[in-house]
Symmetry: D2
Amino acid sequence: MINFRNDYSAGAHPAVLEALCATNMELTPGYGTDTYCQEAAEAIRALCGAPEAAVHFFTGGTQVNKTAIGAYLRPWEAVIAAETGHICVHETGSVEQDGHKVIHCPASDGKLTAEIIRSVLASHSGEHMVVPRLVYISNTTELGTVYTRSELEALHGICAEQGLILYCDGARLGSAMDAGDTAFAHYARFCDAFTIGGTKNGLLFGEALVVTNAALFPFFRHCMKQQGAILAKGRLLGVQFRAVLKDGLYLDLARHANALARRLTGGLRAKGVPLLVDSPSNQVFPIFPNETVKRLEEQAVFEVQQPVDSGHTCIRLVTAWNSAEEDVERFLALL
Amino acid sequence: MINFRNDYSAGAHPAVLEALCATNMELTPGYGTDTYCQEAAEAIRALCGAPEAAVHFFTGGTQVNKTAIGAYLRPWEAVIAAETGHICVHETGSVEQDGHKVIHCPASDGKLTAEIIRSVLASHSGEHMVVPRLVYISNTTELGTVYTRSELEALHGICAEQGLILYCDGARLGSAMDAGDTAFAHYARFCDAFTIGGTKNGLLFGEALVVTNAALFPFFRHCMKQQGAILAKGRLLGVQFRAVLKDGLYLDLARHANALARRLTGGLRAKGVPLLVDSPSNQVFPIFPNETVKRLEEQAVFEVQQPVDSGHTCIRLVTAWNSAEEDVERFLALL
Amino acid sequence: MINFRNDYSAGAHPAVLEALCATNMELTPGYGTDTYCQEAAEAIRALCGAPEAAVHFFTGGTQVNKTAIGAYLRPWEAVIAAETGHICVHETGSVEQDGHKVIHCPASDGKLTAEIIRSVLASHSGEHMVVPRLVYISNTTELGTVYTRSELEALHGICAEQGLILYCDGARLGSAMDAGDTAFAHYARFCDAFTIGGTKNGLLFGEALVVTNAALFPFFRHCMKQQGAILAKGRLLGVQFRAVLKDGLYLDLARHANALARRLTGGLRAKGVPLLVDSPSNQVFPIFPNETVKRLEEQAVFEVQQPVDSGHTCIRLVTAWNSAEEDVERFLALL
Amino acid sequence: MINFRNDYSAGAHPAVLEALCATNMELTPGYGTDTYCQEAAEAIRALCGAPEAAVHFFTGGTQVNKTAIGAYLRPWEAVIAAETGHICVHETGSVEQDGHKVIHCPASDGKLTAEIIRSVLASHSGEHMVVPRLVYISNTTELGTVYTRSELEALHGICAEQGLILYCDGARLGSAMDAGDTAFAHYARFCDAFTIGGTKNGLLFGEALVVTNAALFPFFRHCMKQQGAILAKGRLLGVQFRAVLKDGLYLDLARHANALARRLTGGLRAKGVPLLVDSPSNQVFPIFPNETVKRLEEQAVFEVQQPVDSGHTCIRLVTAWNSAEEDVERFLALL
């Protein structure tokens, strides 16, 4: 079966698994206070050019989003997000569960702009309304689109000007960096906090939170513990990130996934298949007649994104570090 | 100064104040367990034709909305509301503060429909998304529009069919009943819970919550106390509601306010002033050139609703049980 | 029937009611932004010798406790309180509902000490435990005991030293000031925030929150609104506090209540009735044989505090601004 | 260095790691909907003799406690726990963060009894107090003590009688079963929900929640997602539990840890070292003169439990599935 279901269907990249096996019987202090986590954090700081940044490791994306946003905001403060944002749709209201409104902004390509943020601010004033305080973006977005360096810088500009916290959910940060013109250091410079996603790029699990705004440092580990987000054998996260950050493996894996996605896109375009959105990264959104979708489902695994009209459906094809080139060719051959 | 700022600028209707004075030195048990509250609740049940309904008294609208919604929902459940709904905009995220997402629905006239609700339900499924469970409507709406009896019945239909709770914020319920074709009994029949607003219709303060769905009864007073929403001298609420529900005073007061608003509307229309929305109730939304607004502000008190375009602004004129006919004439004469 | 049930069984002192009647038909801006609230706040600042203090008005005690504590604390921060404290026992877990642990400290007389606080701090460290941050005291306490000026100062000392917020619940502050050696200015000097209780001392309802720590000022009204704690006709609170603070009426009312309580205490002692606690304020806790309690209940209204042993019960007698001297004599004559 | 720091210092038992490696490159659906999780759940149901039980997998103990308690309780409901309980002390107030009071009960051996529960119930009534609803126990307790089968049954009796939920935190359930007279089936019969701890007994991470009370089933996975507690590559949990539940490995590992602890205890007793508590499981709490503790720290790793008096300190020694017999002998030789 051709499998483009998602980028977290397999286990870990062999180098990651090997590192876990090699360190398995060591005895280390718990909760991420071990040397592996320190080394991984150091490696991240170096890649980011941010020697003072705080780095924390989590087991999953919803967990890190919820913990960070809950820790950073006061009860009356709210989040600004594109209505397609992961926290708006697919995290079961976890930000609201911790008490904060998420202001959903229409954004056809899944991306926020300074203009959108300004308009939210303009419509909020006085004690009868929440105070927008944190801007949540995801890169790549849930539609596979990518913020450019100058777009990031523009968001940084409005946030700095307006006293907003810029938070980037980098569940697919590797893919975003490979597909666009950004590097780790740009996120460190332009965001107050961002995550480096490991789960979707070769780890068994793991998201690293990088925080450069020192005002957000105090008592953060208290919040992590309160949210059940400190792993007892925390070193497992350090060991994995250390393995994948060595020798550029993290970007290599993303590059592979993106390359296959571009192939898919090229092949679909060549066959005249319309795409929901122009995605340069590892998620592709072709639109097919409903019967075609049914037929494809017999030989390939993928998710249905949304109905487009009564006769057509958009599906989502995701390539990953472990996807095979043949699968791309086989899928295109089905059409 | 002509005053159309809102319907809670004055104190209480004389009959209400008199009742408070007459009972002032009596000694009664606290927290609403007194006979005045029992009598007021009885009067409400009688008006509603709902002898089994639970009735609770609150001091304010945000308080009752927050307490009821927080009590009725489980952590994963969400509210469906028109994006103009009071809880969406002007209650500082109080529903989210208690952990629940509010799904904002576009609705140009401030009213939800079965179709809107169906579309929300259709787009929510699976454990990665919240479960829509409570439908919040306000009558009159924040735009002065009014649900008809058959519209209420249709909402009841979809809610009963889909296992949703229908909650009506009746901060201006008197105005809605006078302006439309509904009576207390329709709310009791079609809603699981609704409020009868006193603050905006002649009381010093007070909102009565009427609950007809017995599944929502248990432990509700625990929630009230937890939310700081049980008034120590609870009888003050009973005494006031008892006074205003006697001899139809509640509806008389709303009728007066609506009548003056209709006059205002008629006068404005006669002068060719465009209105933002066609409101049959005690809120009127004329659109004026910006200079006119500035000029009016010198002789009248009102709130600015929203800019319409660079040269025009919509203002809000609210009439109340204590508004004077002369003020209507004087305002129209200013134009 | 003799009535010592509590100090909120009657309505308002005549002077308060008169003020409400006199201002009833005035039109003022809502939400406490009117001149009556400003004047009442000014009067409080003057009494406190705290010209920069923030003053906010609430309708009830649980409401103000919950709102202030919820606004002041971050998610990982906790409250230190005597286990008899009102928030520990009789507010249905409202502080926990907003996310904060309340650390219950044994305190046989209902009072915290620097030593108790130090021992709580000593047993809390590291990210696996909450961070104690706010010290909640009530004066008078729930047992009728009273903090002296030097005790308050000592609490202030430890709090200042340890970066803790000292919050005093003054639901019966008048009684505490009359029974002890403190005045408004001491609370302003030694507490970061405290309340002046009106509900139990002659108002229909009303608690004033006085905040002297400027770090606690920002966005507080947002929290009030979010908690449903801004009264639409906010002036009702200003009008009442203004009336009761004029010419020392507030303290006069407390003095009357305390004097009657002292008489009760004297009479009980003269008859050899044991008392649960030595209370100098308006709550008295005599212990009677169970049969005596039953007999007394036929002619007097009061609450049972707690069983003491299988044959004896402690009851609570509360005197108020409106209690009659004859009732004291009649009660003692019953014994 | 001798290491008795805790039972989660090493990675996974070789058989567990092997299972992870063997399945690493398989492609499976995410979020625990794979066949490995189904098989592990089936194995647990079989061991428990509870074919209808729901089984959910989590990455950590705080996470499962928080998610289950938050899902099961309504806002006004509270938890009864021994004051030494993990949720009372070392989870940074995570239960309170989700809105629920935890009632701390003194219990010198860390165990609740029906009598303690009855006394909590007796002191809670009316809407001004929380409603105790869930009884939290841990087995083994945080002091290493163990509930017997008849003690569990007695707790079940009072809970069933009073409508309480009995929840057992089994972070060290293997150790409890080996040290006492209980088996999986007793927990399934006597508890509404309990956990089977993997992290402290040979897994990289993993706690299985077993729920037998069907009233607690609905929408639980929504709560898991909302709490950030669904692992994307959920199969990792299924694979590990499947490995450790095969051929009785889970109990074998606990048996090893307990046996070493008994040896330690025997050796300490032989040398006249007093113990804080009589623990039959894998945590041992000897009391030493402070100087001895300092000396021991040079050659062994362990945690300080608490000071006992000015000259003596209680330390905690934890043995694990991977502890070496020689370490026990070496430690005893140090004395």
